[in-house]
Symmetry: C2
Subunit: 148 residues, 2 copies
DNA sequence: AGTTTCTTGACTCTCATAGTCAAGAAAGCG
DNA sequence: CGCTTTCTTGACTATGAGAGTCAAGAAACT
């Protein structure tokens, strides 16, 4: 249960990767795909969607690729997931379990619990910026560097 | 995202319904299905699985049906969801996003966030007993009764 | 002109979830 | 006992979303 679709995970990873590369010019799709273990063709689709957010910019040609336009501290995981969600064909996640999924139209005994769960999840998502994730990775890398 | 499968929702509703009926003898599958808007044939399957938990008992024959064997205060939503999860063929929810789903084997920057989310969800699930849900419904029913 | 890259959108594949069905066994009733 | 009602079992089908693929074309740079 509570599965985050791969597409959404990939979107997060792609932005994460772009964030780490920020300041070094455009990064090719193929590079991102390799670094984050994302199927290339699938990533093309996802990055195309992400352009709609304005967080991301593309450049064609030899030195082309993708760029992150804004600061990693300004994008939260929640932002990305919400966008990807709105982008999916099924809008059945208004309240984790949607009202139109509930035969009692949200009036059932479970509704408030599902809402609480959804809120708890997004509290975490909204508290976590892409920058936080980078910091976390740096710390881990530092820890294992000690052992070398 | 973060969708709880119908099967799991149905299992919760079925137990909830049995809990409300406790003390009034066995309750027929067809009754439960009607009361909770669950497809009859599908509910048969789910109740069959739930028998494996010991929370639920069945009686055949004319006055047959299903019974809740234990107190609604002793079963949490978390218990039910965990059972239904283990029952599914795909065990890809060890940490919301499973390690074997993560190309970095759980060592990626996202791992701790997924874990936090999973914990936050189950904190709520584990805090909520079936009895709590009944109480919640009673309160709601009381509130609307005032208007009549 | 010629690479190299992104762009677009349609296309296929796969599989979990959802839901169905039918024949049979237990339990009680008359 | 014979009849009805109910659960029981397990195999079966359907559907849709998610995952992934592909190819022809357009921009950008050398």
């Amino acid at each position: 249960m509570a599965i985050v679709p791969k597409r959404n995970q990939y979107a997060l990873r792609a932005i994460f990767e772009l964030a780490k590369h920020q300041g070094k010019g455009p990064q090719k799709i193929s590079e991102i795909a390799r670094a984050q273990a994302i199927p290339l063709r699938f990533l093309e689709v996802i990055l195309g969607q992400l352009k709609g957010t304005g967080w991301v910019e593309s450049k064609r040609g030899f030195y082309g690729g993708y760029l992150l336009k804004c600061s990693p501290g300004d994008i939260t995981v929640g932002d990305v997931l919400r966008f990807m969600q709105g982008n999916a064909r099924t809008m059945d996640c208004v309240a984790c379990i949607s009202k139109h999924d509930c035969p009692f139209n949200g009036e059932c005994a479970f509704a408030s619990m599902w809402n609480k769960v959804n809120e708890a999840m997004f509290k975490i998502y909204d508290e976590t910026t892409i920058q936080d994730l980078i910091d976390k990775e740096r710390k881990k890398a530092g820890a294992s560097a000690k052992m070398v």
